[in-house]
């Protein structure tokens, strides 16, 4: 177990090192001066520029520069944005939680719907329920997420007027940002009408969450269905039946647990897809998240922001996927045996 933990820490550290190196190299690859791209200061701010050139030892060789860059990264000094002039570290810290919040709700909703439906489809394999669920999932799986978001806006915001078009919460509410997770912030704040603020926040959440969740739900449904079917066809299930267990007992005692194990790694593989969808949906609903922020940064050619945002998002993805991988490795005895067998 310590061995596995050590190996994973090692892997995470190496990956993070490569990512930081990559973000450093990006400053040289982007158009313009590297120091500009690292700090976000323009050449006309000469004195500040000279100071930061000293800070990054821009005249020294590239390895010394990288060493200083890492030092500044850990000090939380990520430079400032070209377009707004705000420090990037605070900006990323402000926008990233909004994205995480949206994706987390969407993921939760998808699990809540997708898992049971997947089980139902698998238990009714080759029956009408299975076929109809599968066809519905094919529709959801094929719909381009931006088109879905546009249709939802057209129908529910413009035609019916049920839900607001964009943003996180009605502008009437001024929520002090403590954690930057809107729901938690509302619950923490005490000055305003909590209930009205919560309702407003939920109304803003529904459409973006739905548009992300449709694709994710169908993915979960399909993965679950396949996994359950494969598990129920395996020999230990047959053995359980042979011992005289009822189908219900077989499913509860042997089916569910073994079917759930392969789902998690497959889902972790879909995490980048979820994030891409979340970024697109954010930009359609003007959700103040990291995806929308990055896309705006592209339009404004804000290279320091792209560098910082890319680093933040990829670090998040790496840590998330690695921790899922580690959890599976530690909890699934089959993986452990396979590992012992090879070493």
């Amino acid at each position: 177990m310590t061995n596995v933990l050590l190996r994973y820490t090692n892997l995470v550290l190496v990956t993070l090192f490569i990512l930081s190196l990559l973000s450093f190299i990006l400053a040289y690859l982007f158009p313009g001066e590297a120091v500009e791209n690292l700090t976000g200061l323009r050449l006309n701010e000469l004195t500040a520029m000279q100071n930061s050139a000293l800070m990054y030892s821009a005249d020294d060789n590239i390895f010394v520069q990288y060493w200083h860059y890492i030092g500044e990264l850990f000090a939380g000094n990520w430079g400032v944005s070209f377009s707004s002039g705000l420090p990037l570290y605070e900006d990323v810290g402000h926008y990233l939680p909004a994205s995480i919040e949206l994706s987390a709700y969407a993921l939760f909703l998808s699990f809540f719907i997708g898992l049971p439906l997947g089980f139902i489809a698998a238990l009714r394999h080759h029956k009408l329920t299975d076929y109809s669920l599968l066809s519905v999932s094919l529709l959801g799986y094929s719909i381009p997420v931006f088109w879905l978001a546009l249709l939802l806006i057209l129908v529910f915001s413009l035609q019916l007027g049920w839900f607001p078009l964009s943003g996180r919460i009605s502008l009437l509410f001024e929520i002090p940002s403590i954690t930057d997770f809107i729901i938690i912030d509302i619950l923490l704040s005490d000055s305003i009408d909590k209930q009205a603020a919560l309702i407003s926040a939920f109304r803003h959440l529904i459409l973006p969450t739905l548009s992300i969740a449709v694709v994710t739900t169908t993915l979960i449904l399909r993965i679950t269905r396949r996994s359950v079917i494969e598990t129920l066809n395996s020999e230990f299930i047959l053995a359980a039946y042979a011992r005289g267990l009822t189908p219900r007992q077989v499913l509860m005692r042997h089916g569910i647990r073994n079917a759930l194990i392969p789902i998690l790694p497959l889902l972790a593989m879909q995490f980048p897809t979820l994030l891409t969808n979340a970024m697109i949906v954010e930009s359609i609903f003007s959700w103040p998240g990291i995806g929308n922020w990055l896309i705006q940064a592209i339009y404004q050619q804000d290279y320091p922001a792209i560098r910082a945002g890319m680093l933040a998002v990829s670090v998040l993805v790496v840590i998330f996927t690695m921790s899922i991988d580690l959890t599976i490795r530690l909890t699934d005895p089959r993986r452990r045996r396979a590992e012992r067998a090879t070493t």
């Binding site: 094929s142 381009p144 931006f146 890319m310």
Partner: protein, 297 residues
């Protein structure tokens, strides 16, 4: 009318015929296959099929509704957009761009992916683990992020977004190829070839590659739907194909401005994308279950 069999001769279908027989049993998948061929025909023959030039602006015919509306005309089947361009022609050319470019990208990604995968699968030790780890980390980064970085370096445009999508498609092919090669290498017919003194390259080209075809086709259909989604998403976000181009995602973006008074300008291009991706997914699913059923028999 079926031919009466006069002779008691056993007929064994080839694996390919067997797959087709299994595939034909699934009627929805066959419908998807016809739809797929339809898009393929549009992609190849689009200048012959389109009634108008996709960029011709007819000043008198702004925002004409499609023909199923009470005030729509038959001369513009899907209506016109805010600049008076015929939507049907733009959709036909848009299918060519989105679908054709995606097919191109998938082929490029497949060639590179199979090459790298063969390198990773046939070699051992450091080289193999280096390729694996690099590709795993590329696969973990969302496509949109790769695209944003490449576009930040090279500037927005269709060709630059194509690079990004090709790069993000490669890892799956490498993974599949590598795993497949690993599985096959332990089988006995490979051992027979080895005992005959075949070199590694010979084993790969003559023994493994012919068996990989089906796996690659299934993987390619998956990659094709992903690539269509990505290319249109990038067009939609103004990062890929730019405004006057008739790429379907870029058309959707243009439609937003008039979406409230002319909903067909976003309904029709989006619908075309939707049907395209459904047909590809149907074919992919059908093929996968046909192959699975063939192995079960």
């Amino acid at each position: 009318m079926p031919q009466p069999s006069l002779y008691q001769e056993e007929h064994h279908p080839s694996p390919l015929q067997y797959t087709w027989m299994e595939f034909k049993k699934n009627h929805i998948a066959v419908a998807g296959f016809f739809c797929f061929t339809f898009f393929l025909i549009i992609t190849i023959f689009c200048p012959l099929l389109a009634p108008f030039d996709p960029n011709m602006q007819q000043i008198g015919d702004l925002l004409i509704p499609p023909s199923w509306y009470p005030n729509g005309g038959i001369s513009h089947l899907f209506g016109t957009d805010a600049l008076g361009r015929d939507l049907l022609s733009r959709i036909i050319y848009g299918c060519r761009m989105t679908f054709g470019i995606s097919i191109l990208l998938v082929i490029v990604a497949m060639l590179l992916g199979v090459g790298l995968g063969a390198l990773a699968g046939m070699s051992k030790g450091f080289r193999s683990s280096f390729i694996n780890h690099t590709l795993d980390s590329i696969q973990a980064i969302p496509t949109l992020l790769i695209a944003i970085i490449i576009i930040a370096i090279l500037g927005p445009g269709l060709v630059n977004s194509m690079w990004a999508i090709a790069l993000s498609l490669i890892p799956q092919f490498v993974h599949q190829t590598r795993d497949f090669i690993r599985r096959e290498l332990s089988k006995e017919y490979i051992m027979a070839a080895k005992l005959d003194g075949a070199s590694k390259r010979h084993i790969f080209i003559h023994s493994i590659l012919p068996n990989m075809g089906e796996m690659l086709v299934v993987q390619a259909t998956l990659a094709l739907s992903v690539s269509i989604l990505d290319i249109s998403a990038l067009g939609f976000l103004k990062l890929g194909a730019q405004a006057p181009s008739s790429e379907l995602g870029a058309m959707l973006l243009e439609g937003i401005e008039v979406a409230y008074i002319a909903p067909w300008t976003i309904a029709v291009p989006g619908g075309a994308l939707f049907v395209m991706i459904i047909s590809i997914n149907l074919v992919g699913d059908g093929l996968r279950s046909a192959l699975r059923n063939r192995l079960l028999h």
